[in-house]
């Protein structure tokens, strides 16, 4: 005699073994399975056949788990983003306070400040991936440029790169001598780093456009 409750319990175990361990999806799937079985039996199928067909129609446990994992990744990104934001903010605070009070920042705190700003930026990107996922899904496509334009691009990139270095180096050198950095120098340093990054991208990366 076919035991439907036992068969459903076994089906649940298979789902759990495949990794669907959060209660809500599993409960929803079981409710669905029971509705499907009930309807199939109304159409005249035996309990055994109704169960087998319904379980098959719901899908393979591993495949379902893969799909549910995609949703869970969003929660993970939110968690990582919040943690990154908090750590980043904590790293920025000591340097910011010293800057605010003394208009200088010690080298150790400066390193933390820059690291913190980087972390906050990275966390923002995590949130951006959730709010505006289409931006990263659209592939970048290489655009072929004529040689004169390529030379112009590399030349412009190199100028920006060198300008960035010119802003950075004196500030960095002063920080090396004094063991701390003035607020104005810090602004030069950050501006220099930004120029350096833009210059490096323009010089060395091929020109790409987002696919429509």
């Amino acid at each position: 005699m076919f035991d439907l409750e036992q068969a459903i319990a076994d089906w649940r175990s298979q789902m759990l073994a495949a990794g669907i361990q959060t209660p809500v999806p599993l409960e929803e799937l079981e409710i669905h399975l029971r509705e499907e079985i009930e309807q199939s039996m109304k159409l005249g199928l035996s309990v055994r056949n109704a169960f087998q067909i319904s379980a098959q129609q719901i899908g393979q446990p591993k495949m379902l788990n893969g799909e549910f994992k995609k949703s869970e990744r969003t929660f993970m990104k939110i968690g990582i983003g919040i943690i990154g934001m908090l750590i980043g903010a904590a790293l920025v605070v000591p340097g910011s306070i010293q800057l605010h009070d003394e208009l200088v920042v010690a080298n150790g705190k400066l390193a933390l400040l820059l690291l913190g700003l980087g972390l906050v930026g990275w966390s923002f990107d995590m949130f951006r991936q959730i709010i505006w996922p289409e931006a990263s899904r659209r592939k970048l496509e290489k655009v072929k440029m004529p040689l004169p334009k390529q030379i112009l691009k590399v030349g412009a990139g190199a100028i920006v790169l060198l300008t960035g270095l010119a802003f950075m180096m004196p500030a960095a050198a002063l920080a090396g001598q004094d063991g701390m950095m003035r607020f104005a120098d810090l602004c030069y340093l950050i501006f220099g780093i930004a120029l350096l990054m833009v210059g490096a991208v323009v010089t060395f990366c091929p020109y790409k456009k987002r696919a429509a």
């Binding site: 809500v24 929803e28 799937l29 409710i31 669905h32 899908g59 549910f68």
Partner: protein
Amino acid sequence: MIRKELVAASAEPLVLALLAKKESYGYAIIQEVKARSDGKLNWTDGMLYPVLHRMEHRGLIKSRWGESETGRKRKYYSLKKDGKTAMAKHHEHWTLIHGVLSGLRKEQYV
């Protein structure tokens, strides 16, 4: 047999359009899609739930637990404001694709 990529791509707009009419639950959504497509659009039932959950996380739909007439627990889904906007966008895109395809087909028979 409709290609699985097309079935997957159509899941979100279809769910949004069905929920725009009234709140519903997984089993009923699947049955309605089956009926409206004369059984040609046959989803793997379980695959609907990850789609619903993703849409809920994105703020397009919301859910509540309720009960059926027989007392069975059910999770009902309904459309949110962002869902209506997303549905309008989907409609615009699918209409465009349909228009282009129909136009090309007409030209073949002229």
